[in-house]
């Protein structure tokens, strides 16, 4: 007996391939050629740079549903003290890349190394112990915990430092101090974002992964976040930042990656990318220039 599935998809087991249709690119009336992997990606750059990297990922393949890869051989490396920006269209796999580095999405093939040590598929909490911090893009607070408890969880592995770090975070986001007893679930979008960022700053990580930290924040606070990121980086922390506020991100970062369809489309210094007309057209848009 075969069950007619009430859903719309006739073949539930069909494995969608991510190679076709063409890459997701911005609407372009000029009909610019979509970026194709072969044209831009040359692993030699990566291999050369990755040599002395603190954190590196090589030819990562990863995904959520069996048989569907979201990351298709993404490469990434960060040197110690670097600030890296990752940009790309929606659904490119930026968040997935961060999650994969952080052990939240299983690696199917490829490797991740930290300080020369293989950390592929290590559990997230052990990475925290090695000094990696992460701010997720969505669902980034504990709704039923108060702000204070949220931050306390951020300092879970170093409870002794809680007081000091709490002061530090409240310094950056004074709104949090006033509301310390409010449950995070009732916070506004922006306030949540502050909590999420604050939570990651509770430890003093040596590598910080930020997934769209400025989203939902007021312009004033967005500035603050970028400044903070840079300051933290100046203090010696390696930062990897995914941003849709791409221009701002590329302005401050040492190096930028453009991710498309789960693989690197471009990799260059932030300044180069920001001025690359192709990148502007496909990923940055011209709005902010207008």
């Amino acid at each position: 007996m075969t069950a007619p599935t009430p859903e719309n998809h006739a073949e539930p087991d069909r494995v969608p391939t991510r190679d076709e249709p063409g890459p997701v690119t911005a609407a372009d009336e000029d009909g610019a050629e979509p970026v194709s992997r072969a044209a831009v990606v040359d692993r030699s750059d990566h291999l050369a740079g990755a040599e002395s990297a603190l954190l590196r990922a090589d030819e990562l393949y990863a995904g959520y549903i069996p048989g569907v890869n979201i990351l298709n051989g993404a490469d990434l490396y960060v040197k110690k003290g670097e600030l890296i920006g990752i940009i790309g269209p929606n659904g490119a796999g930026k968040s997935t890349l961060l999650k994969t580095l952080f052990g939240l999405v299983p690696v199917r093939s490829g490797s991740v190394t930290l300080n020369g040590e293989d950390i592929t598929n290590l559990k997230a909490h052990t990475l925290v112990a090695r000094g990696v911090g992460y701010v997720p893009q969505t669902n980034n607070v504990f709704p039923s915990l108060t702000i204070e408890e949220n931050l306390e969880m951020g300092a879970f592995q170093v409870p002794g430092k809680f007081k000091e770090r709490f002061e530090f975070v409240c310094e950056i986001f004074p709104a949090l101090r006033e509301r310390r007893k409010q449950r995070a679930g009732s916070l506004s979008g922006g306030e949540r974002q502050m909590v999420a960022m604050g939570r990651a700053l509770m430890t003093e990580p040596s590598v910080l992964l930020l997934d769209e930290p400025s989203a939902g924040l007021s312009p004033k606070l967005q500035d603050l976040v970028f400044i903070q990121a840079q300051q933290i980086n100046k203090a010696g922390v390696t930062v990897i930042m995914v941003e849709q506020n791409a221009r701002r991100c590329l302005q401050i970062c040492h190096r930028g990656y453009v991710l498309d369809q789960g693989r690197n489309a471009y990799m260059a210094s932030g300044r180069d990318l920001i001025n690359d007309p192709k990148v502007i057209q496909l990923y940055l848009g011209t709005l902010a220039r207008a």
């Binding site: 300051q231 221009r247 709005l287």
Partner: protein, 309 residues
């Protein structure tokens, strides 16, 4: 990228706003939504306390304000998702206080959610179809006769496909909405709201997390919608977008409307700069400027640390 000639509706909207005072609560010539004395408290916190606000029909109005200003809560009150402690509001002259959320939507006032609500185990296409109004097949008895709703369904699908194309979600058509990325969810949220074909669409930070290039093309779409007669009220923190698209800006802070006016005026209003924009002024910063600012901040911080020490 869009026609250089100012479109008619935009002109009309600008004309309507032309002579207005830049005062909070200023009356508009043809308001679609009129809000009076809406108050919402949570314990000791007054999240919303809006004395009077009017939204001009056929315009694109931006609602901005610092985080926690009460924008989302205000949306919740207006659309029936939360009950206001006090106040009243009319939409198209109709009282909407106490009207349940689905009736508000049916009346033509549709909102999106800041924290997206994708219907996870429905495909993207089904999500879209759900938005369409007056579907015959949504009636229990007619649902049993496919013939009675097939045609309509096809039309809806066609419309949905167009929107998906614009929102760069066409490739995701048959995937579960639960598998979308953060930005894609935002896009779906907005596209789905547009499927309703509302008179007034209220977008809560529609572009946060959406790729800038795509944002730009979508703004064009929103402008087109205004040409078709839709009124748009949106919350956004991206000032480039606000400047580009909005005809009028309302500023909220600590629950109250503190300023209203055209984008340029508002963005140079010192109160707004102080409460909201900060040093982030009109034009995007150049790298040098940024560096400068950074150094300033750093110096400040260092001196603070020294003070403490």
């Amino acid at each position: 990228m869009h026609a250089d000639t100012t479109p008619t509706r935009k002109a009309a909207a600008l004309a309507a706003f032309a002579g207005l005072d830049h005062e909070p609560g200023v009356p508009k010539p043809d308001p679609i939504l009129v809000v009076d004395k809406v108050v919402r408290r949570f314990g000791g916190l007054t999240a919303v306390n809006v004395d009077h606000v009017e939204i001009q029909r056929g315009s694109i109005t931006a609602l901005i304000g610092p985080n926690g200003a009460g924008k989302t809560t205000f949306f919740n009150q207006l659309t029936g998702f939360d009950s206001a402690d006090e106040g009243s509001w009319t939409f198209n002259g109709k009282q909407l206080k106490g009207v349940p959320a689905h009736r508000v939507a049916r009346a033509g006032m549709v909102r999106t959610f800041q924290l997206t609500k994708a219907l996870s185990k429905l495909t993207v296409m089904e999500n879209m179809r759900l938005g369409a109004q007056n579907q015959r097949g949504e009636n229990f008895f007619r649902a049993l006769i496919p013939g009675s709703w097939r045609r309509q369904e096809d039309e809806i699908t066609e419309r949905a496909e167009e929107l998906l194309e614009r929102f760069k979600l066409a490739a995701k058509r048959d995937d579960f909405a639960g598998s979308l990325s953060g930005g894609q969810r935002k896009l779906l949220e907005m596209a789905r709201a547009l499927m309703v074909g509302p008179e007034l669409v209220m977008l809560d930070e529609p572009m946060a997390g959406v790729n800038p290039a795509l944002t730009q093309s979508l703004l064009g779409h929103v402008k087109d919608l205004r040409e078709e007669g839709m009124t748009v009220l949106f919350v956004e923190h991206d000032m480039d977008m606000v400047r580009d698209i909005s005809d009028w800006v309302v500023v909220m802070a600590q629950g109250a409307v503190i300023a209203e006016g055209p984008p340029d005026t508002i963005m140079s209003d010192p109160r707004v700069v102080d409460a909201y924009l900060g040093a982030h002024h009109d034009a995007p910063m150049s790298a040098e400027e940024f560096e400068e600012q950074l150094q300033e901040a750093e110096a400040e911080l260092e001196s603070e640390i020294e003070e403490k020490a």
